[in-house]
Every structure is written in C-alpha cells, then in structure tokens.
Symmetry: C2
Subunit: 116 residues, 2 copies
C-alpha cells in the first residue's frame, strides 16, 4: 500500500535511487542497469531490483530472456503529498496536543526499579 516508510526507506539507499533514476524515463534491462553500476555484482543489482519491485517503485516486463524495468512514478506521489503536508505546518502536528494530554494522564511507563 506504499506507506511513507516504504517509499522513504527505498529512496534512502543511494543505490536504489541510482537505479530509479536510470529507469525514470525509459525502461532498461537488468543487464543495462548493471552496466551503469560496475562496482557491484549482477546479483546485488538484481536484489535491489526485486526490493524496488516489491515496494512498488518500479515495474517489470519480461521479453524473451530479458527483463525490462521502469519506474512507477505514481509511487512517489504519496511522498510528495507528505512533504506538502509537512510544509503546510499545522496539519502535521495537529494531533500533538491531544496525544500529550492522553499520555500525561495515562499510566506512566513503568520502569523496573532496582532491586532493593
């Protein structure tokens, strides 16, 4: 469901950002993507591709023995919205007051006391 955490975690990796950038405007085969990052093995690239695929940030198409990948740009929409919400000040911390009030009243987190 493309949570903020999923998208942010995916983007936090420079390697995955690089891949995403490569397939941003066009689809590329796994091999071509690997060629663009010769410092890692094919396996490593394949693994990151799978990760991006599972997170819904790219999509794949098989053709003969190639697999072509391309960015699912829509996936970043939620992140853009999140940032907008953040800049939009108030909304983001709206629940703060209520939350604090609640925990202030509720049972304080019991920390175990040292043995007497």
């Amino acid at each position: 469901m493309l949570s903020e955490t999923t998208v942010l975690a995916a983007l936090a990796s420079p390697r995955r950002r690089e891949i995403l950038r490569l397939v941003w405007n066009q689809e590329l085969s796994a091999g071509t993507i690997h060629q663009a990052m010769p410092d890692v093995t094919f396996g490593a690239v394949s693994s990151q591709l799978r990760s991006l695929l599972e997170d819904g940030l790219i999509e794949a198409r098989a053709e003969s023995r190639h697999r072509f990948y391309r960015a699912r740009r829509e996936a970043l929409g939620s992140l853009a919205e999140m940032l907008e919400r953040m800049w939009d000040d108030k909304l983001w911390s709206l629940k703060l007051e209520a939350e604090l009030e609640e925990t202030r009243r509720g049972p304080r987190p019991r920390r175990r006391r040292r043995k007497t």
Copy 2:
C-alpha cells in the same frame, strides 16, 4: 552538508518522523517527547534525538536541567527540491546516456572465472 541520503535515511524511520512531527511547530523537552512515545525507553528517545541532531534535522537548546528540541525545517528544503527535480522528468536522468556510453566502452567488470 545535509545530503539527500542523510535526510531520506532520517525520515525513513517512523520513530524519527514522529519526533520530528512533535517538534515541528514548537520546541519540546526530551522528557515531553518521551512522554508522547511511552513504548520505548528514555534512552532510545535520547539516542534518536542525538541522531536527528547530528543529521541537522533538529536543534537543541539547554535550559537549566532541560534540553529543548525543535525541528530545523530548512533541512527538508533539499529533499523538496530533489522531489521537484524528479517530477521535473528530464533533468533527473539527463546524465544517463553519457554514463551508459562510458561504461559500455570501458573495461567490463571482470568477474573471476571458476577454477579450471
């Protein structure tokens, strides 16, 4: 210098996002922040605060025995710009062609051959 990776990695943690949200519009003491997240120890919160501080996403002010934290909102500017650049299509993958050409010509990554 607040690299994209730094900001994205910081935001990728739900815990740090929660903290950031709490101190987005106001400064709060470490204790108050901890009260808002009673499922973790004070130590854990303190550690995340330090991490956010080091990454330049929040700033701290000491007053008597309290330490007050608040978001450094400017820090997210670079991320917003990055997203804009991305949505702005072409720019992001501009270097792609040149890069691929280069690696295509250059020495292919030598994979060690199985022992004969």
